[in-house]
């Protein structure tokens, strides 16, 4: 299955959340890979702590492959090449976890041609043969990478494809996430342009809320009553706004709580970070696990 991670704004935690989903899925025994389609800023290697690709690879990555300069993009086996001991210890029964990094010094494409589209289609089809989950991390905002992904999936109707739109739980982000999907030149418009059916495509798009504050949790025990009721009021307004903009509960796949580890250092959260050093919250891992299961759970994707 192809899963595309996209967001309208930067700083939504799109890359760190999708990396962690991939990691949880691998721990659940599936073969997974992660494609860095954020051509302007190919830094996913840093999240996986693969130092040879922390700013993209120099050995020929996604950008050069799509340009037709190399026959296949470099693959990095995260289990063996990560610098973090906790990640390098591959647990029994875990699946393959492979990173396909971008190129160091690559840039956004200004456009794409038929040849590039062919190469993209071939890449996706080849990866589908090998991996249960292919996570494609697209850059923030409207990009040619997103156009390319829409055009390629339109040519691969037999490979299941799903879209995750990441947004923070704020007014601006809710409006922007809706705009990215339904606005002018949004995902639906561009998808239809490339041959997708609008209704079928919309059923394949779900929203993921990130850095969410849980009002019922213990974190708020120290707040003054006035602050708490103000937050409740804002949250209610946001929920109404989200429903009006089609970003409400019915189209939400899951949410990731605010976790300092994700805010200050974007990284994979291992079980040791929760149970051993306790720097990360168990709710965060629970949220990732839940998302990793829901991505492939057809009942979470039934037509609305």
């Amino acid at each position: 299955m192809l899963v595309f991670a996209i967001s309208d704004k930067g700083g939504t935690g799109r890359s760190v959340t999708s990396s962690n989903i991939v990691y949880r899925r691998a721990l659940q025994g599936q073969d997974v890979c992660y494609l860095d389609f954020d051509f302007g800023s190919p830094t996913v290697g840093a999240i996986f702590r693969v130092s040879t690709a922390s700013r993209g690879t120099t050995k020929g990555g996604m950008h050069r492959y799509l340009e037709g300069e190399i026959p296949e993009p470099t693959r990095i086996d995260v289990w063996t090449e990560s610098d973090r001991d906790a990640i390098r210890a591959k647990p029994a029964g875990a699946g393959q976890m492979v990173l396909l990094p971008g190129d160091e010094g690559g840039g956004e494409f200004a456009t794409f041609d038929g040849e590039m589209l062919k190469r993209c289609v071939r890449l996706f089809a080849g990866l589908h043969e090998q991996f249960d989950l292919i996570m494609v991390d697209l850059s923030a905002g409207r990009s040619f990478a997103a156009h390319l992904a829409l055009a390629a999936t339109a040519q691969l109707p037999r490979i299941p494809a799903r879209w995750l739109v990441f947004h923070r739980w704020t007014r601006q982000h809710i409006i922007a996430a809706n705009g990215l999907v339904r606005g002018d030149h949004g995902l639906l418009d561009v998808g239809v342009e490339h041959g997708h059916d609008r209704d079928a495509l919309i059923d394949r798009i779900r929203f993921v809320r990130t850095a969410v504050l849980e009002l019922g949790s213990g974190d708020f025990a120290h707040l003054r009553p006035a602050q708490r009721s103000w937050l409740n009021e804002i949250d209610r307004e946001l929920r109404e706004l989200a429903t009006r903009h089609g970003v409400g509960l019915t189209t939400m796949l899951g949410k990731v709580p605010l976790d300092p580890v994700l805010q200050w250092r974007e990284q994979l959260i291992s079980d040791d970070d929760v149970a051993g050093t306790e720097i990360a919250n168990p709710e965060t891992v629970f949220a990732f696990d839940d998302l990793a299961k829901k991505i492939v759970d057809d009942t979470a994707w039934e037509g609305l």
Binding site: G29, G60, I70, E129, R158
Partner: protein
């Protein structure tokens, strides 16, 4: 003269074995040419030979700049309606002139790559078997891969394979001499094979390499499935469910040497002694069947209270 090739092997992307009548549509890569089929002891279909023109550097262990011009011969095959292979090879020879001739010259010599200038066969062979960075030299694997991709794109296939698997890459070189065969398992999906055969090179050597690549892939894939099943670690029904695709898809495909010319049969036999393909396969198959039997018994005990 040096002969070298690369075979890539993978799972055909379809939920079930494909029917005999679908092979023509799936492997008919050249309009008007028939797909050849044999039905015993296992269904096997092979595409017509396809030529790819090349003008590029050849691999070299000493990093010499060697330019070769000519054509690569490739074919795709499907075994048991399940396993797909892409296979390409070339004969590397010294060209008579040091400049590129008109294409008609090379097209009249299918599968021959002529070197412009000096060349040492062992140097090219060692460079080839070292699996350098892709894209720098003549990349027979990419050519094989491309023909596999074309097959996988066929609208006949539903792309719902029963499990995910890797394509293996087997690079081989063949020369004339005292008969012998040397197989090495490299990192990841890479394998190398050196074949020495009596008399002139014949396509039967390619059949041998493809057959070996097929069985190495079966063994590699079955090993992965057994490892992932976490026998002893996961619950019994889970283990059985994870082993099931192997039983449905792979176990009956093991038929080493089925299409090997009798003159090369001794080479397969030596591979059966070391590393002992069939021995390892047999022990894996027995392990799977024992697991399924034990798990079924446990299930029966539970249901009978």
């Amino acid at each position: 003269m040096l002969i070298m090739g690369e075979v890539r092997t993978g799972l055909l992307q379809n939920s079930a074995e494909i029917e005999e009548r679908d092979h023509q549509a799936v492997l008919g890569l050249l309009a008007g040419e028939r797909v050849r089929m044999s039905r015993r002891p296992i269904v096997y279909a092979v595409s017509p030979d396809l030529l790819t023109g090349v003008d590029c550097r050849l691999p070299s262990a000493s990093r010499a700049r060697i330019r070769g011009v000519g054509t690569v011969v490739s074919r795709s095959s499907i075994t048991g309606g399940r396993v797909l292979q892409g296979s390409s090879y070339v004969r590397v020879t010294r060209g008579e002139v040091n400049y590129r001739l008109p294409w008609s010259h090379y097209l009249a010599r299918p599968g021959v790559v002529e070197v412009l200038g000096k060349v040492s066969g062992p140097d090219v062979a060692d460079g080839f078997l070292a699996f350098g960075a892709p894209g720098e030299h003549l990349d027979l694997g990419s050519v094989s891969d491309r023909f596999m991709d074309v097959v996988q794109e066929s609208p006949v296939l539903d792309l719902r394979a029963p499990f995910r698997s890797n394509r293996t890459r087997l690079r081989w070189v063949a020369e004339t001499g005292e008969p012998g065969v040397h197989f090495t398992l490299g990192e990841g999906q890479e394998r190398t094979l050196k074949v020495t055969h009596q008399g002139e090179f014949s396509p039967a050597v390619v059949d041998l390499c493809e057959d070996l690549a097929l069985h190495d892939w079966l063994l590699t894939t079955l090993l992965t499935i057994v490892q992932r099943a976490r026998i002893g670690g996961a619950s019994r029904p889970e283990v059985s469910a994870r082993l099931a695709p192997a039983v449905d898809t792979l176990l009956h495909l093991w038929m080493p040497g089925a299409r090997i010319h009798p003159s090369l049969a001794a080479l397969w036999e030596s591979l059966e002694r070391t590393p002992g393909f069939s021995r390892q396969w047999q022990s894996l198959v027995e392990r799977i069947r024992d697991q399924l039997a034990v798990n079924t018994l446990a299930l029966l005990r539970e249901t009978n209270g």
